[in-house]
Amino acid sequence: MKHHVSFTVNGDPTEVLCESEQTLLDVLRDELELTGTKEGCGTGDCGACSVMLDGRLVCSCLVLGAEMNGRAVETIEGMARHPVANGNAVDTDEMAHLHPLQRKFLEHAALQCGICTPGFLVAAKALLEKNPNPTETEVRYWLAGNLCRCTGYDKIIRAVMDAAAEMRGA
């Protein structure tokens, strides 16, 4: 049995047909070809598939596609903001379209292989929206569900703290 599901992805109305067993992660990756959301485990243990669902951070591998009717999902693909209309103005700083977290991850070399990066960014953005001034310990515990095997977390934590400071205007 297939479910006809209507929801929004990064603000855009979307419709898909999905099987009962398909997860939101499957729907994003296989039906909508939004492959920025990664599968590291499929069991909610690694956080690589983190997305925002109605404003809550979740693992998209632990959500069924069939649940999605009327809901709103935000993925890594929606994190950078490109202006729709820019008149004749020449875009002098393309990097400014990136979210501060995305820029700070680059500046701090907070990624090596990059497979966990989308999940970390989505999760970190959720943290900073809730807590603009987190301590190192708060960042570490909030991100404990996002596994990284390359970096030892050091530079990720620094990048999040630095982005938080920049976003606070500090």
Binding site: G36, D45, C46, A144
Partner: protein, 770 residues
């Protein structure tokens, strides 16, 4: 805290080397654009799944796929019958060797299944759910055989034999009866008996470690497509796509030219993506079905059937005089290979005592097969196991001699001119500089609190060079395209662009780097052995210098001067010598504009077998706190000190140091493969295979020591592997400092630590500190 120590001789100020620019592949990785192994789809593609053995050891009597083949949506099925058998032939994979006779059997079981999770069939179907349903319809009749999981058990006479015809190699005369011991290796220097006789103190201990998995976050994945004329394409997450090409062509009996392999972005490998699992199967299914076939392992499959590194038993004996000079060192290493021969016992034996300048050394290693997944390379394969044991004994030796553990190590440290037990004499190496930096660090001097301890351990890794091709094309507008062939796992493209930019006097944004596919560039050995920045860097410099030579030649032609009358300085081509100042200097942009008219495109192409790789040595300081009531060990402070030769992009060097350290922390404290008596893995997921999470670890401080490698144009040493070598020893030594107890078995997980504490309490152990 990140520091840099050392003063490498510099002929001139660098513009790029040693800076921290944003990596060229970075934006794609923070926006979700970067495509990894599972991120590519093709029209009409099928999904394939693997049927795996539920038994750790059984003879396959019959495989019947007829019911599965009849299922609607099933397009192809392969079993052992679809792969040619292979002769015994060893080929390199990273620092390890593999044998094609075994590879074909690991990819698809033939006579027997040798571990739980061993593939027995694969199905390509129109959807994952159809493929899964088809797997259930495949009938496999097994004759279940007794299994053996432990190396000590596997070596006993009468143990179940995995390979009935396996005769131990490396023993003279060769044994006449088969056993599970595939190979014996031995390295000797001097006379250990004499050395021990001269010792005032001798310490001998036996250690045990469990298999641990590389734990890359991206599961194995590939997408195969084969045309009717036999031309094939493979998209795959791998550390070496030329190596994948070679293995697949060999296993399938195809010409190498027929197969083009493209490396996707790779989501971590750590050695585990140097071998093939799904790739030949996907190609066989694609050929059979005439459709593109995508295969992605589940995390469970990754744990059950892709390579962890060995569990091992290691005996170490070291003797020293009262003043702390080591007189003899002796070890026996017994490593699990998994189902097929080829544990990293060889490199383990080679680097066991490599950090030390010793006269008398003897190391004996055994490569033992057991009913577990075949091990694969894991970051400094073999080294961490051996050096954990050695560094634990060195620490105990320092205690028994009343010496500072750094002092003892300094007294015996390997240095330029030291002859290693495995053969070579070291060139300039930086262990002494690292130990001095450790001694001078704030960390080493900081006070400890109750229940805390501090440990230090040294580490060594060889590093390799090898076959490498890089091309650098000057575009019409003066920008450049760089093609390398060693997959970029952690910032390689940034480092290569920096070296090219340094040579050419251009900006790094002027260079667009890619990892080329196997049809676009000459052969490249894989990313492994910490070789990619070293080897591809060396080739990049050569290619850049060829661009410079060609640019000079073109300008010479334009100016009608002899070629040697033109020089390249500060990114500009200039007339030199007597002709200096006769013509306006030309930038590379200017040269690019005249390239067509002066002889055609300008491309630097370097094809080398990179020589002169130099080892990287270092030491780690770990502070721990032990909860005396639960046995839990916390890492409270950690510093990595390591010789990088020269850090091209220091942030990515620090990243390697930090990442390796945290993998080692996991290995030391919680990671292990847990099997039941039934030979089945009980923790095939990140829930119970416990890699460190962000809240488990502190910031990892780093001190980059730079003792340049004279055989690399920028002094580079490979640095990626050494960081996982010292942590287990450093942490074990710190736990000893905190508790007074020496742990000779990994992981030091809470139940083990608490049991040891309680046992010591019950025995009234006076040395117990908590």
């Amino acid at each position: 805290m990140q520091e840099k120590i050392g003063n490498p001789p510099v002929e001139k100020e660098f513009k790029w080397i040693g800076t921290r620019p944003v990596r060229p592949d970075g934006v794609d990785k923070v926006t979700g654009r970067a495509r990894f192994g599972a991120d590519l789809n093709m029209p009409g593609q099928l999904t394939a799944k693997v049927k795996r053995s539920p038994h750790p050891h059984a003879r396959i009597k019959r495989i019947d796929v007829s019911k599965a083949a009849a299922l609607k949506g099933v397009k192809a099925i392969v079993t052992r019958d679809d792969f040619l058998d292979q002769q015994s032939e060893f080929v390199p994979a990273g620092e390890m060797l593999i044998n094609y006779r075994d590879v074909v059997r690991n990819v698809m079981a033939r006579e027997k299944v040798l571990y739980e999770g061993h593939p027995v069939a694969a199905v390509a179907a129109t959807s994952a759910s159809v493929a899964k349903a088809a797997l259930d319809l495949i009938e496999v009749e097994y004759e279940i055989l007794p299994h053996v999981m432990d190396v000590v058990e596997a070596m006993k006479p009468g143990a179940p034999l995995l390979h009935e015809d396996m005769i131990t190699a490396g023993v003279n005369p060769a044994p006449t009866t088969p056993s599970n011991v595939a190979k014996q290796v031995e390295f000797k220097l001097g006379d250990v008996a004499k050395g021990f006789a001269a010792a005032d103190v001798v310490i001998e201990r036996t250690f045990e470690t469990k298999p641990v998995h590389q734990g890359y976050i991206e599961p194995h994945a590939c997408l195969a497509n084969v045309s009717e004329d036999g031309q094939a394409d493979l998209w795959v997450t791998t550390q070496g796509h030329w190596v994948v090409r070679a293995h697949c062509a060999k296993l399938l009996g195809w010409d190498i030219s027929k197969l083009r392999v493209t490396a996707s972005e790779i989501g971590g490998g750590f050695g585990g993506k140097t071998v093939v699992y799904l790739e030949p199967v996907a190609l066989a299914l694609a050929k059979k079905s005439g459709r593109p076939v995508k295969m992605v392992m589940t995390r469970e499959e990754v744990f059950r059937a892709s390579g962890p590194t060995s569990g091992a038993v290691v005996r170490v004996k070291i003797g020293a005089t009262k003043d702390g000079r080591i007189t003899a060192a002796d070890a026996t290493l017994t490593y699990q290979a998994g189902a097929f021969q080829g544990s990293p016992v060889g490199p383990g034996a080679m680097c066991a005592f490599a950090p030390y300048d010793l006269e008398n050394v003897s190391v004996l290693g055994y490569d033992v097969v057991t009913n577990r997944p075949k091990v694969a390379a894991y970051r400094a394969p073999g080294g961490p196991i051996a050096e954990y044991a050695v560094e634990s004994v060195v620490d105990e030796l320092a205690k028994s001699l009343g010496m500072c553990p750094i002092g003892l190590r300094l007294k015996n440290a390997a240095k330029e001119g030291t002859k290693a037990a495995y053969g070579p004499k070291f060139g300039p190496i930086g262990l002494i500089e690292c130990l001095e930096a450790a001694k001078a660090s704030d960390h080493w001097k900081a006070p400890l609190e109750k229940n805390q301890g501090r440990g230090i351990a040294a580490g060594f890794w060889f590093n390799i060079g090898g076959e490498t091709t890089v091309s650098l094309a000057l575009n019409e507008d003066g920008t450049l395209n760089l093609m390398a062939g060693t997959p970029d796992i952690g910032g390689l493209r940034a480092s290569l662009c920096m070296m090219a930019a340094e040579e050419l006097g251009v900006g790094i944004d002027d260079i667009r780097p890619i990892i080329a596919d196997t049809a676009s560039l000459g052969y490249n050995f894989l990313t492994g052995g910490s070789r990619s920045t070293f080897s591809s860097g060396m080739a990049t410099v050569e290619a850049a210098r060829e661009v410079v030579r060609e640019a000079c030649a073109r300008a010479a032609k334009l100016w009608d001067l002899p070629a040697d009358a033109v020089t390249f300085e500060d990114g500009q081509v200039k007339p030199a010598g007597d002709n200096a100042g006769q013509h306006e200097p030309m930038s590379l942009k200017d040269v690019a504009r005249i390239a067509g008219k002066t002889g055609g495109p300008i491309v630097g192409l370097s094809k080398i077998n990179a020589q002169g790789a130099a080892p990287s040595l270092g030491c780690h300081i770990a502070d721990v706190e032990v909860d005396p009531e639960t046995g839990r060990v916390w890492i409270t402070r950690y510093t990595v000190i390591q010789d990088a030769g020269r850090a091209i992009h220091p942030a990515y060097v620090e990243g390697q140091y930090q990442g390796g350290a945290v993998q080692g922390i996991g290995w030391a404290l919680n990671e292990e493969y847990i099997y039941g008596d039934d030979g089945r893995l009980q923790n095939p997921g990140f829930l119970d295979y416990r890699i460190p999470v962000a809240s488990d670890v502190p910031m990892i401080d780093t001190i980059i020591v730079e003792v340049p490698n004279p055989r690399h144009p920028y002094g580079v040493r490979g640095i990626g592997e050494t960081p996982i070598v010292p942590p287990m020893g450093a942490i074990a030594n710190a736990v000893e400092g905190a508790t007074g107890l020496r742990f000779t078995s990994l992981p030091m997980s809470p139940p083990r630590v608490l049991k040891a504490l309680d046992t010591a309490r019950a025995a009234g152990d006076k040395g117990l500190k908590v």
